[in-house]
Structure formats: C-alpha cells, structure tokens
C-alpha cells in the first residue's frame, strides 16, 4: 500500500509523468521565470524521451526554454521574453533558433501572456487590455495562415476593437485565452492530500496551472496533511486541479527555488560557455541530460560541494554571500 493513500493515483515517476501526459505536438506552459523555479527535472526527462514538435507558450522563460529549444523539442513558440539574467541576456539556443529560422514563433508581452493564461483560467474566451497599442507586437504576426488553423493556435493573434462602454474613440486590444494541454510547475511543497504550496513569487504559475488541461507538479517535499491544512490561506492549488505529482528534490536546478536553494552560477556559467557552439552544446546534452538516466544521477554529477554552496538560508530564501559572477 502507498504511504500516501490520498494521492496514490497521482504520485508517479518523472518517466511516467512524461510518457503518460506529454505527447508529440503537445502545447506546454512551463512555470517559473528566467533564473527561478523552472521545472528542470521534468524538462530534462522530456528531452530524454525525445518528445518533439512541442508548442511552447511562455511569458519570460530562461533555462527551461533554452534546453527544450536546444534539444530540438520545440516546433512552435509564443513568447514574451527569452533570457536568463546575467548568464544569458538573451537565451542562447533560443536566439540561434530564431536567427536560424528553425522554429515558428510569435511575440507577445509579459502582461499579455499572463492575461491570456488568466482568461483561460477564468473560462473567458478572451481578455481586454490597453497594453501594446501602437507597437509592432500588434503589427507583425509570426504565425502563417496555415498555422492559425491548427489545434490550440488562436485563429487571430489579437483583435483591436472600439470600447463599447465608451462613446468616445477608445481602442482596446482583445487577446485570445490560452488553455495549454499541459502545465509543468515546480513547487516547494505538496501535501500528502495533494494540496500544492508555492513559496516566494508565483509569477504566472497559478494562472498557467488553472488554464491547462493537465497539470504536472514536481516538488521539493511531500508534507503531511496536518501541516499543509493548518494554514490553508498559504496554499496555491487544490489537489483536484493536479494530475501528476512527482517528488524531485532540487528539481529546479540550476535555477533557484526560494527558501530551498539559489540558482547555480557555476553551472549556468558552464552552460553559457558551451551553449553557443553546436558541437559543445550537443556534448553538454550528452553529458548532463542523455548521459544520466535520472535527476538523482544528474545531481551526483553536480556534486555536494556545489549544492551546499547554493543551499538557501531558509529565512532569507537565498544563499547569502554566494559568488554569483
């Protein structure tokens, strides 16, 4: 019998979570933001299982985005920002893929993408905003007419209408809702009743999860129901919105996980050095992704010394004094 009877049907391995829920052509939203809480462990597993033709829908993504694009898993991209702080002012494989014309892409802004997830979560078909009026974001469409006919692609990038509640000339942008096939979220805690708690900033993770057909949550710890229900004001998602739960300590490495660990400057600098060169990048994937069959093995390669360095001060939430150059 499972030690977690309430979530025994949802608790699974990374391998099973990916093979059950992520398909060729899936539309995927990944949680986190640039250097923090990217669901790296499950992204590495997607790469290992060679899932192709992913339609990625992002606001600001960093390391997760870059690995998926670099490993040729992504066919189509809706994005506001591809960057990883000082370690990659523009994400390296993302930049190469767009300059090389090897992926379909379309630009939005962060608020626009977040509002699109929110609309999907609310069950609203679209949402209105003033953001973007006059910009080339509303001028240039990245997707062709053919792409616009495909599943999970909005029929129009956006629509501008006259505000029907204002008699004066007043233009408003309507943005189509997003309802991805799968949202991948890395959280600090999942209760043994399936309740999810994210600590620190939530970015657009909650809107992404609520808008998705399937939600996979990887987590640092599974904690008792008695703990997670003592103060339910702090919780983020109810169990019934979550389809798969995978316990993966350090599952966001080399990005940060507030109150557990900081981002890993050594690994991100290593990545920065190799990612721009196709051969070196393939060697990186061989060594760090294909060459390890689990996140535990990957962490063994990182090593305890490095992991101790990035261990967060639990009160501050980050590794004070960490050499971040």
């Amino acid at each position: 019998m499972s030690i977690y009877p309430e979530i025994s049907d949802k608790l699974m391995t990374l391998k099973d979570a990916v093979s059950r829920f992520i398909k060729d052509g899936s539309q995927i939203a990944i949680g986190g933001f640039t250097v923090t809480r990217n669901p790296m462990a499950i992204i590495y597993e997607i790469v290992r299982q060679k899932i192709k033709n992913i339609h990625l829908v992002c606001h600001s993504n960093g390391q997760g985005l870059d690995i998926l694009i670099g490993a040729s898993c992504v066919k189509r991209l809706e994005i506001a920002y591809g960057g990883n702080g000082r370690y990659a002012p523009t994400c390296i494989r993302f930049k190469k893929a767009i300059e090389g014309g090897v992926i379909e892409f379309e630009d939005y802004s962060n608020y626009q993408m977040s509002l699109r997830f929110l609309a999907g979560a609310l069950g609203s078909p679209f949402i209105s905003t003033k953001s973007g009026l006059g910009t080339d974001i509303l001028q240039y469409e990245g997707f062709s007419e053919e792409v616009r006919k495909e599943r999970k692609v909005a029929r129009k990038k956006y629509v501008t209408i006259q505000n029907p509640f204002n008699d004066d000339d007043d233009k408003v942008v309507l943005l189509p809702a997003l309802n991805p096939d799968v949202a991948l979220i890395h959280a600090q805690y999942v209760g043994d009743d399936g309740t999810v708690r994210i600590k620190g900033l939530t970015f657009a993770d909650l809107e992404q999860a609520k808008s998705a057909d399937t939600v996979i949550v990887t987590c640092e710890e599974i904690v008792p129901r008695s703990f997670i229900r003592l103060d339910p004001d702090q919780n983020s998602l109810p169990s019934f919105l979550v389809d798969a739960i995978v316990k993966v300590p350090l599952g966001a490495h080399p990005t940060a996980c507030f109150s557990f660990y900081d981002y890993d400057p050594i690994h991100l600098n290593l990545y920065k050095k190799v990612a721009g060169n196709d051969a070196l990048f393939r060697a990186y994937l061989d060594e760090w992704v294909y060459g390890v069959d689990s996140h535990e093995r990957y962490l063994e390669k990182i090593g305890t010394t490095q992991l101790q360095k990035i261990k967060a001060n639990p009160v501050l939430g980050y590794a004070a004094g960490l050499d971040r150059k």
Binding site: V35, E99, D136
Partner: protein
C-alpha cells in the same frame, strides 16, 4: 580619467530623477542599481518593485534578475505578474519604470526584440518581457542606453515599447491614457523630451563629455541647445553605491 564608471554615473543620474512616493519598476542590470541607489540615496520613501511580483524587497544583496530570490526576500508582498502589471498601470499611483533597450528613436520608442527582418532576424534579443506593458501603462519611463549611433536610430527595426510614438499627441490618440518617455540616461548624458514635439533633446552631458561627442554618437538630429553639464557624483553617492548597493561588485 574620472574616478567612477559609466554604470555608476548612469545609476546615479537615473536615481536623481526618482522622487519620494514614486513606485519604481526595476529591470535587470544597471536599472537594478539605479533603483537601489534611488531608494538608498535620493528617495527613501520610493517603493521598488519587480514585474515578477516582488514588492519593496530588503535588497540586502543586489538581484541579478527580476526573478532572483533576492527580490522575494523581506518584501511587503510576494505576488505575481498579473498583480505587478496592474500596479504599473494603477491610476492612483505614480509609477516610473526603468528599462533598457537595443535601439531607441527620437520619440523614445524602444526595440528589445530584433534587428533585421522580424521573421528571420539578423540579431534576436530577448523580446518585450514586461517592457511593452510598462511603456504602455506606467506614468513614465526612464531608459538606459549605451550611447551609440547604431542604437540611437532614425527608425527602429521593431517597435517593442511605445514612447511618444510619432510625437505630439499621437501617444494619447493611440488610446494610452498616460505615461510616455521621461528620460534617457546613457554613458554620455541625460536626454529628455520636448513638451510639445515630444522629440528627444540633450538635457545634461557628463563632466568630460562634449555636446559634439553626444551628437556624433546619435543617429538622428538631437537638439543640444538646452544642455548643461551634470554635477559629478559626490563621494557619498559613490560610497553608498559601492558599499551598500553593490558591495559584491556584480554590476558596477
């Protein structure tokens, strides 16, 4: 040679533009420095916040990205993007955004998307992120630029974030109810915008920089007739910047 770096001069000059009770939207890099400097030197009652949702963090260490765990520490509130952008646009707040860009035009419109053809660019940059949003919704935008001809251009390759659009009242005619480009802070000086035409002009040049050098490095006609020399950073400004804002010397 001056005893301060370009980044220090830029952070100090941008910081000087912030007032108490401004709500300051900070990005990465020098904008992070400028925001922290503003709070620690010029406007202690200003609030610094990030598009990621971190509001008023303690900033005991300088964050290296807007999602750095350091923007979530000691805050008054940890929220998310939706909340952050609704703060940027909130009618009752005076919100000032710090942005960077690859290209800027005479009306303060910005490009952070790409050079060349959009679909098959010569150079791809990260994209809008929240820049387009804050340029649309904030009360004002202060942009950090390296002052180079190829960056100060007649026509942007891609207009990611709207400044004064095509000048005059064109911004409000777009449907944007407030905001616009407030200033541009570069390694050579500080640019502002004419009240009527909304064209950029040189307001200040740094000690040791000539008007001519600014003109040479600007790709469009720039009015320099109103410019004066900026005061050099004081010892105290530099001390706070170096010892309190970025003691690890990560960005300076």
């Amino acid at each position: 040679m001056a005893n301060y770096t370009d980044n220090e001069m830029m952070a100090i000059n941008a910081g000087r533009l912030i007032k108490n009770n401004d709500i300051v939207f900070a990005g990465t890099g020098v904008s992070m420095l400028a925001a922290a400097a503003a709070k620690k030197i010029y406007a202690p009652k200003a609030i610094i916040f990030f598009e990621t949702g971190g509001i008023d963090p303690s900033l005991e260490e300088i964050p290296m990205a807007v999602a750095d765990p350091r923007v979530m520490s000691g805050t008054c509130l940890n929220s998310g993007l939706i909340d952050a952008f609704s703060i940027v646009g909130h009618r009752k707040l005076h919100t000032i955004a710090f942005l960077g860009a690859a290209q800027i035009d005479t009306y303060g419109n910005l490009n952070t998307t790409s050079l060349g053809n959009y679909m098959r660019p010569k150079t791809r940059f990260p994209g809008s992120g929240g820049a387009c949003d804050v340029a649309s919704l904030a009360s004002g935008v202060i942009t950090f630029m390296q002052h180079e001809k190829r960056r100060f251009v007649e026509k942007l390759d891609y207009l990611t974030s709207v400044g004064w659009y095509t000048g005059g009242d064109s911004r409000s005619r777009l449907g944007l109810v407030r905001g616009g480009a407030t200033a541009v802070v570069t390694n050579l000086g500080v640019m502002k915008f004419d009240e009527d035409t909304k064209k950029m002009y040189l307001a200040e040049y740094y000690p040791g920089v000539s008007k001519e050098r600014v003109i040479e490095n600007t790709g469009f006609d720039l009015d320099v007739s109103r410019a004066g020399e900026s005061p050099a950073p004081s010892r105290e400004e530099l001390r706070i910047l170096r010892e309190e804002v970025d003691p690890q010397n990560l960005i300076l």
